[in-house]
């Protein structure tokens, strides 16, 4: 355990995971995970592939159902009904590894579509909001482009803008830079760093250890569906309590 106080530990947590369990057939993806996320925190989930990080993220907004335990969002358990779950999802933005932009819509339409279909915002107002978000991610000149005419990094920035358009209380990033060419990773991480500075609550599943080291306020290490270790980045990267954490990091070539 660490003596350092966690960011916003005095405030009610935004997300609480209690003994979360998830199985796919005989494979146990999550084997009783408990953790919490305070408002304004940037929590990075790290660990080997298949250790359950992405599954936990997908359980957060109901893309996967739980087999056991519970997830509390802003103090309330995730609702069972589809209709209520839709309300929760509007307050959680999600960014996918493969961007998942809608290929039949322009960049601007991708950003505006949630506002128009879900929030029933008039198209001109939605487009104005979408424009502002495209500017925020540095793509004002690409609004009319279709995703197929954007680089991977640009697509992922549009995807971030699309999620931000709904004014989420928390952003979930599922390996946002894993599918990118190395030269475009930086532009996406910069947008994420900017968001973090603005105080957005973020959960980031990532293999970008330098991002986790510099931007995360809390780092959680997963192994085989269990929480191996959690703590501030200084602890995890400089003085991990668990030998397995050290092994994992050195495997990635991390040497502090």
């Amino acid at each position: 355990m660490t003596a350092q106080p966690r960011k916003n530990a005095d405030r009610a947590p935004m997300l609480v995971y209690k003994d979360v369990r998830k199985r796919y057939g005989s494979f146990t993806a999550l084997d009783g995970v408990s953790l919490h996320v305070n408002p304004g925190e940037v929590v990075c989930l790290i660990g080997p592939s298949g250790s359950g990080k992405s599954t936990l993220l997908r359980c957060t907004n109901g893309l996967e159902t739980l087999d056991g335990g519970e997830v509390l969002f802003e103090g309330k358990p995730l609702p069972k009904s589809d209709v209520e779950m839709r309300g929760v999802r509007q307050r959680m933005g999600m960014v996918f590894q493969n961007f998942e932009l809608f290929p039949h819509k322009t960049a601007l339409e991708n950003v505006a579509t949630g506002l128009i279909t879900v929030k029933k915002m008039p198209a001109d107002e939605a487009n104005r909001r979408a424009m502002a978000l495209m500017a925020k991610v540095g793509l004002s000149d690409k609004t009319a482009n279709y995703p197929s005419n954007l680089s991977g990094g640009q697509q992922q920035r549009v995807a971030i803008a699309r999620a931000l358009a709904m004014e989420p209380h928390v952003m979930l990033f599922d390996e946002p830079t894993s599918a990118l060419d190395p030269e475009t990773v930086g532009e996406v991480l910069n947008v994420m760093r900017q968001l973090a500075l603005e105080g957005m609550t973020m959960i980031v599943v990532t293999h970008e250890m330098s991002f986790a080291r510099r931007v995360a306020s809390w780092v959680v290490v997963f192994e085989k569906g269990k929480l191996l270790e959690e703590g501030p980045p200084t602890q995890i990267f400089d003085a991990p309590l668990k030998e397995r954490t050290r092994d994992f990091l050195s495997h990635l070539g991390w040497d502090g």
Binding site: R89, N98, E100, F102
Partner: protein, 219 residues
């Protein structure tokens, strides 16, 4: 052999009328069977078992019966079953729609299945309902992918409409056959009929080729 091609020219208005009815029959069948196919594809994917079973039964029944049999069945059996006295045109249209809806359902089902799962998840993550995900994200993409297949179905259907001539729907084949049996000009009328079908069908087939090139899946 003594040929008299004037019979073709003198029956040009009748043949034109028949050709118009053939086009109308094709268009109406497609107009009904595209939404019908989408509906059946959705029903097959339903989590409510009776609905998906019904749709599966419908598709497998009408896809695997010879269309000619279906036309006769609609003409002789359907009125007994339903108590409705329908015109030959509506009867023929019904038979065509049953068959083509079943085919279109399979087309749309494969089109929908070809859209990555993450696309739907991205919509759900924005807070969309399942219906919104389908209408806004899945269907527009699936539509583009199945368009070449639908176009091919259209061309087959255009020719297959000739089968409803057996229940005296006055489309092109029936009209030509009528003139043939009244004038005994068999060779002339069959040739004229072939020429008209080909002249109308060939540009459609070329259009389909173009659609295949433009919209074919390139991923």
């Amino acid at each position: 052999m003594n040929l008299d091609w004037s019979i073709v020219w003198s029956s040009r208005w009748l043949l034109l009328e028949g050709a118009a009815l053939t086009v109308l029959l094709t268009a109406l069948t497609m107009l009904i069977s595209v939404p019908g196919g989408i509906l059946l594809a959705l029903m097959r994917g339903s989590r409510f078992k009776p609905v998906s079973l019904f749709a599966t039964g419908f598709v497998e029944l009408f896809r695997n019966l010879p269309l000619l049999l279906l036309v006769y069945w609609a003409f002789y059996v359907m009125p007994v079953l339903t108590g409705l006295a329908l015109s030959p045109f509506v009867t023929g249209l019904t038979a065509l729609c049953l068959n083509v809806s079943a085919y279109n359902s399979e087309t749309f089902r494969s089109g929908i299945a070809s859209i990555r799962k993450g696309q739907g998840e991205a919509g759900l993550a924005l807070g969309m309902s399942r219906a919104q995900v389908f209408g806004e994200i899945i269907l527009p993409q699936a539509w583009r992918r199945v368009l070449p297949v639908l176009a091919s179905t259209w061309v087959s259907l255009f020719k297959d409409t000739s089968l409803v001539s057996v229940i005296a729907v006055g489309e092109l084949a029936h009209t030509a056959m009528q003139i043939r049996s009244q004038s005994f000009r068999v060779l002339e009328m069959l040739t004229a009929m072939a020429a008209i079908y080909w002249l109308m069908g060939y540009p459609q087939a070329k259009l389909v080729d173009w659609i295949h090139r433009k919209y074919g899946v390139r991923e």
